[in-house]
């Protein structure tokens, strides 16, 4: 089952500037975790906004589930006048859930991101990592098949980010969502994504793809298990992709 299909997608913002996205083809199956990797300004957010319906493509076609997609922004974009719980409840309300069921469901979602005890705090009283977790709970409250995440952890410190990676993978396994996760951090992409896609800049295109599943679980794919630990294996893949990303960036130096 296909969750997202982009065919020949392109986008330019003005007649003068060249296209930001050109001829992007992408198919994401249901339940997949796809990491989208690219240099700053290559059009990752633009691509995601088009999939989320916030922006119209100038060419090509976009197929997403009729209900639309949930989107988590680069900054949490929580409503500052609502407590964490109310932010989640508002998402439930806007999706049409009856009032009586909302508090219980909001509590469950906050528990899922391990913030049950912080429900009454306003966004400014929370740390950046906690805010992103509330934003994740709010995105999950939309109960959409597809969850789009735009560099959700890029502003966080390394320890918090590490922990949130584990949490996100746990939630992904528990909920079975289709996730498209944008980042410019190769390690993050390799760790989280089943598929890692590399985008070029100006025009933005998907230039290469890596499947991390055989690396993470060699036995299931009939590969020879070697003595390397998983960390070393993924480290090697990370170095390969980083080299390719650098190559892509230095193409623009000339």
């Amino acid at each position: 089952m296909t969750a997202i299909r982009l065919e020949g997608l392109s986008k330019s913002f003005g007649p003068v500037d060249g296209p930001v996205l050109e001829d992007v083809d992408l198919t994401v199956e249901r339940g997949q975790f796809v990491a989208l990797l690219g240099a700053s300004g290559c059009g990752k957010s633009t691509l995601l906004n088009i999939v989320a319906g916030l922006e119209e493509p100038t060419g090509g076609s976009v197929t997403v589930p009729a209900e639309g997609a949930a989107l988590m922004f680069q900054d949490a974009a929580l409503f500052p006048w609502l407590s964490a719980r109310r932010n989640v409840e508002l998402a439930l309300e806007l999706r049409g859930m009856p009032r009586a069921e909302r508090p219980e469901r909001a509590r469950e979602l906050l528990e899922l991101v391990r913030l049950a005890q912080a429900g009454d705090k306003r966004p400014h009283e929370l740390s950046g990592g906690m805010r992103q977790r509330v934003a994740l709970a709010r995105a999950l409250a939309q109960d959409r098949e597809v969850l789009l995440m735009d560099e959700p952890f890029s502003a966080l410190d390394a320890i918090t980010r590490d922990l949130l990676h584990e949490e996100l993978l746990r939630i992904w396994r528990a909920t079975g969502r289709t996730i498209v996760f944008i980042t410019h951090n190769v390690g993050e992409a390799v760790r989280l994504g089943q598929r890692v896609l590399l985008m070029s800049s100006r025009p933005g295109r998907i230039v290469q793809e890596w499947d991390t599943r055989p690396w993470k679980d060699p036995d299931a794919y009939g590969f020879e298990g070697n003595a390397q630990s998983l960390d070393d294996t993924l480290g090697e893949l990370t170095r390969t992709i980083t080299a390719r990303l650098r190559e892509e960036i230095s193409r623009h130096a000339a």
Binding site: A52, L54, G68, A70, L71, F73, D75, A77, L78, F79, P80, W81, L82, L90, A91, E93, L94, R95, E111, L112, R114, L115, A118, K121, R122, P123, H124, E125, L126, S127, G128, G129, M130, R138, Q142, I159, T160, D162, L163, E166, E167, R170, A174
Partner: protein, 317 residues
């Protein structure tokens, strides 16, 4: 004796220690991952502790300084009058004014005028709010209308509303309608402008978040736009009140007689007519006092609460 009370030296384990001994069974499906404790630890480290300023400190930092300044100004005033000795009907000292206050208070003039003006000011302001709020929303949400009347509204805000007094007298005669008309012309543009500024300053990200969550039309306006614009709106209300009060005083000062009641502005005009500087001073001080008190006791607390709730105020301010 029952053993429970006989052995006070063996205390029950403190409630907080119990989970460590016998952890509650995790509900099925939410088996804690190893990171859960670390996350909870980080949360505890990173959460801001909200601290309320104690009452004594408020008294010391907020209430005492202006009172001391006021006292100082009064002393200086009295000193100058005592040293220079001007005619008391031209430059009265604070004691002369205080005496005049006592006289006007005892015959009910000041309180009557104060009551009349306050009633008009407050009711005029409330009417202005009722008119300006829907108008502001309409102009903010409808770009065509905004292009058409936006410049007019900004212009009206600059025009001193006292300039409407002659026109109002021609239309409504010397009646309360004249006063209310001038008050409305003073307050409505401020409130509409505050609403417009509030809507303009909404971070685009919040609208996008609302859109992604499925808000549109009415739900977008009521759940996202209005609450997000509230600080600007309240700032507009505050300015609207200031303009109402000023316009009212201007109108009362100019339009006297007819069926117009006797307000503070009328008292001011009367003081001028009979050349009694002490009466003039009493009226000015009363007008000033109302302005300061309404701001301090009503608008400032409302505004602070609002901003603090959104993390837009430091803890100490």
């Amino acid at each position: 004796m029952p053993p429970e009370t006989a052995a006070p030296s063996v205390p029950a384990p403190p409630a907080a220690a119990r989970p460590a001994v016998a952890p509650p069974a995790a509900p099925a499906g939410t088996r804690p991952s190893p990171g859960a404790d670390e996350l909870a630890g980080l949360d505890a480290l990173q959460t801001e502790r909200t601290r309320r300023t104690p009452g004594a400190e408020v008294l010391r930092t907020k209430v005492a300084p202006p009172l001391v300044a006021l006292l100082f100004a009064l002393l200086l005033w009295q000193l100058l009058v005592a040293v220079l000795g001007p005619r008391p009907d031209v430059v009265p000292g604070p004691l002369d004014v205080a005496r005049q206050v006592a006289v006007l208070l005892s015959d009910g003039t000041v309180l009557g005028a104060l009551g009349t003006s306050l009633w008009r000011g407050v009711s005029g302001f409330l009417i202005a709010v009722a008119v300006a709020t829907p108008l502001g929303l309409l102009v903010a949400q409808w770009q065509g209308l905004r292009n058409a009347v936006g410049p007019l509204i900004s212009g009206l805000q600059v025009l001193p509303s006292v300039a409407w007094v002659p026109a109002a007298i021609i239309w409504f005669g010397l009646s309360d309608a004249t006063v209310y008309f001038v008050v409305l012309m003073g307050a409505v543009p401020s409130i509409v402008n505050g609403m417009l500024a509030g809507v303009d300053q909404i971070p685009p990200q919040l609208r996008r978040a609302g859109h992604v969550l499925g808000a549109s039309g009415w739900t977008m306006a009521s759940r996202v736009v209005l609450p997000a614009a509230l600080p600007g709106y309240v700032a507009g209300l505050k300015q609207g009140w200031a303009f109402s009060w000023r316009s009212l005083m201007g109108a009362e000062l100019i339009a006297i007689g007819g069926s117009i009641g006797f307000g503070l502005g009328s008292l001011l005009a009367q003081g001028r007519t009979v050349s009694n500087m002490a009466v003039v001073m009493v009226a000015v001080l009363a007008i000033l006092a109302v302005g300061i008190l309404v701001e301090l006791l009503f608008f400032n607390p409302v505004e602070r609460r609002l901003l603090r709730g959104r993390g837009l105020l430091g803890h100490r301010s």
